[in-house]
């Protein structure tokens, strides 16, 4: 039992991180039918930004964090205005190819411009383990789970309760009808790109102490988040979260109870099974329903 709880915490603390990045995928897909293969790089760049501010320039944590989110937002804004907006009429395939290109550019750009090395990043929370009977908690894992949950809940409330959130939902469900309501669809899409980047930036700050900071981390996180979004359901924010947690837990439990060697393979099998049995994802809705 203790072992089970221990694994649960491990799986959830990873899964929720995948989930946050996956939520961005889903937001973009819903509002603008874009699949962003540069999603992982939108995490990687803020990681380096955080290193630049917090470690190189020695700015305290919270100001660095805020500046990193700001930088992420600006990056998302430019990403949409300078690239996506021009390519959107070309369809999904054009966007996929363009974002793949951008991801490579950012990755190798960072490697050449800064460093091919992995950079150190300190723990954000105490590393003193807390023992509770047989179970050992790491404050870092618990804080990550709690804080990311709070962020997701706030995001959820914003989308459900605010005017802009409602407009985002409207655009996601029908662009033309949204326009009929007087909603400026372009502005909403820009806003969603900014939001996506800020979410990715948040994930970056939490991920940096766990993964360290390296130019190619984006491939890993991007693929995990993409798989999570497909498993959970690409057209549901809930789906992204469920998918993230599923991937995190599946990895951990497969590693513990089957073999560590095939943790990634197990996730891929899970992906195939979901695609065969419920292609719209665990909590996804069939697209025809629109």
């Amino acid at each position: 039992m203790a072992n089970f709880i221990q694994l649960l915490i491990g799986g959830v603390s990873m899964g929720i991180l995948y989930g946050v990045v996956a939520i961005g995928f889903v937001l973009l897909w819903q509002t603008s039918q874009t699949i962003n293969f540069g999603q992982g790089e939108l995490v990687m760049v803020p990681m380096f930004l955080m290193v630049a501010l917090h470690i190189v320039l020695k700015i305290p944590f919270w100001p660095s964090f805020v500046l990193t989110l700001l930088g992420s937002g600006i990056m998302g804004y430019l990403f949409e205005r300078l690239m996506i907006r021009k390519l959107l009429p070309g369809g999904v395939l054009v966007i996929v190819i363009a974002t793949l290109g951008l991801s490579g550019f950012l990755r190798y750009g960072m490697q050449i411009a800064w460093t091919p090395q992995t950079l150190f990043f300190p723990h954000l929370f105490s590393t003193k383990p807390i023992e509770l009977g047989d179970i050992i908690f790491s404050p870092e894992d618990i804080w990550n789970i709690v804080l990311i949950s709070v962020i997701i809940i706030v995001l959820h409330l914003c989308i459900k309760r605010t005017k802009l959130g409602m407009a985002m939902q409207a655009v996601a469900q029908s662009r033309e009808t949204a326009e009929l309501m007087g909603i400026n669809v372009r502005h909403i899409i820009t806003l969603v790109f900014v939001l996506n980047s800020v979410l990715a930036g948040t994930a970056a700050v939490f991920a940096a102490p766990i993964f360290f900071v390296r130019y190619d981390i984006g491939i890993f996180l991007g693929v995990k988040a993409f798989v999570a979004a497909i498993i959970g359901g690409f057209n549901q924010i809930r789906g992204a979260l469920v998918g993230g947690l599923t991937v995190g837990l599946a990895e951990t439990f497969a590693a513990a109870y089957i073999t560590t060697a095939y943790r990634d393979a197990f996730v891929m099998i899970l992906l195939l099974v979901v695609l065969l049995i419920k292609p719209e994802g665990i909590v996804g809705i069939k697209e025809e329903a629109y």
């Binding site: 694994l7 091919p116 590393t127 360290f212 060697a261 943790r263």
Partner: protein, 400 residues
């Protein structure tokens, strides 16, 4: 019209400028550097390349090899075995005298047949034991292979730490699986015991809760961390974070500068083996490391010394042969004892190359110490090589 002519002329002159190679190139000793420039191994590849660059400059400043300057060209393997094969093909098409790299064992195993076919010396940074079983007469290592490193490390851990249950985390590739096989074999044959758990880990893996739950269940008291640099550092941090009490020990990659820079205080106490470390008590290691520190503001990883030596090995071979015949080079460079007298700049002191290109040199058993700002490997003992003239020498203790 004038513009067109001008453009044609400038293109032509550029072509001539760049293709002016053949005549001059024949006079140069070409080294094709086939290396992890991008991908997971990019950081190591970067150190290696810097080593090649420095050695080349040093040699050329001192008049080259038998009067010919060294010239190198880099071919990226992207850290992927199939791409390393095409990289070696491209490198060989450039007609080099020798190859330098790659580091990743999986890549070397995939591409080493090419240098064997082309009868071109290849100095690699890989440590998988299978490489020296393939029968190539054109492959040399720049570091001790795992088959020799692991027994030395185990002999220390078993004798000094007396662990009751040893577990192992290894990277899920040829390098890691080779190490697992070697470890199991030695534990069985020499100590009549076995690993309580051997777990393969993925690259970039950051959650080890599954592995740690197994460690607890099996009551492991020692953990052999056979991972790449970044993952090793992550494991050290996770072990501290979860409050596990284990004797940690690791191969070279687990105590290299790249790992310790990331692991910081969580690497405190880790035991490891090191060959050409920047703080090895050997004058050439110290000399090139100091140069590196001055140049790049940090201490080098051992890959820097390995890349450096990969060029000096070529120099040694050619000088020993007295010419540029590759078959004779191959003969000369086997069963050779390279001392500072033979090659004054080469790192690592006395190097012995056996009949399959395996390196036998002094290794240092180190323990990581945290001084408040840096984690540094502190030398505990110098262990003699298993083969060659120095193998009869005794372990030198620095601290006990």
């Amino acid at each position: 019209m004038l513009k067109k002519t001008l453009i044609s002329i400038s293109i032509l002159s550029l072509l001539i400028f760049f293709s002016s190679g053949p005549a001059a190139a024949a006079e140069k000793v070409r080294i094709g550097v086939v290396i992890e420039l991008t991908g997971a191994g990019a950081s190591l590849g970067d150190y290696w390349t810097k080593g090649v660059k420095y050695a080349t400059k040093e040699i050329n400043d001192a008049g080259g090899i038998l009067g010919r300057p060294v010239e190198y060209k880099i071919f990226d393997t992207q850290s992927k075995p199939p791409i390393s094969v095409s990289a070696v093909k491209k490198a060989l098409a450039w007609k080099p005298y020798a190859l330098s790299g790659p580091i990743y064992s999986s890549s070397t195993l995939a591409n080493m047949f090419l240098s064997q076919e082309a009868k071109t010396p290849q100095n690699v940074g890989s440590e998988n034991w299978r490489i020296s079983t393939k029968g190539s007469k054109y492959i040399w290592r720049t570091s001790t292979q795992q088959g020799f490193e692991i027994p030395k490390l185990l002999s220390f851990i078993m004798a000094e730490k007396k662990p009751k249950a040893i577990a192992m985390l290894h990277v899920n590739n040829d390098y890691g699986i080779g190490a697992k096989e070697t470890t199991q074999k030695i534990l069985k044959e020499t100590y009549n015991t076995k690993l309580v758990a051997a777990m393969a880990c993925e690259q970039k893996q950051a959650d080890y809760s599954a592995e740690f739950s197994t460690l607890r269940r099996k009551k492991a008291d020692a953990l052999f961390v056979y991972l790449l640099e970044e993952e090793a550092a992550i494991v050290y941090r996770q072990v501290r974070k979860m409050g596990l009490k284990l004797v940690l020990f690791a191969p070279n990659s687990g105590i290299s500068e790249d790992t310790l820079r990331l692991g910081k205080e969580s690497a405190e106490g880790v035991y490891g083996m090191s060959g050409f470390e920047y703080n090895a008590p050997e004058p050439n290691c110290v000399r090139v490391s100091k140069w590196f520190k001055k140049q790049y503001k940090e201490w080098p990883d051992n890959e820097f010394m390995k890349g450096y030596n990969s060029v000096y090995l070529v120099k040694t071979g050619i000088e020993q042969t007295g010419g540029f015949d590759k078959a004779k080079y191959s003969q000369k460079m086997h069963n050779i004892f390279i001392t500072p007298k033979v090659q004054k700049n080469i790192c690592g002191g006395n190097l012995y190359y056996d009949d399959v290109g395996d390196l036998h040199a002094w290794d240092y058993l180190v323990q990581v110490k945290w001084d408040g700002t840096h984690a540094k490997p502190k030398i505990v003992a110098a262990l003699p090589p298993l083969k060659g003239p120095d193998s009869s020498k005794k372990t030198k203790w620095y601290e006990k």
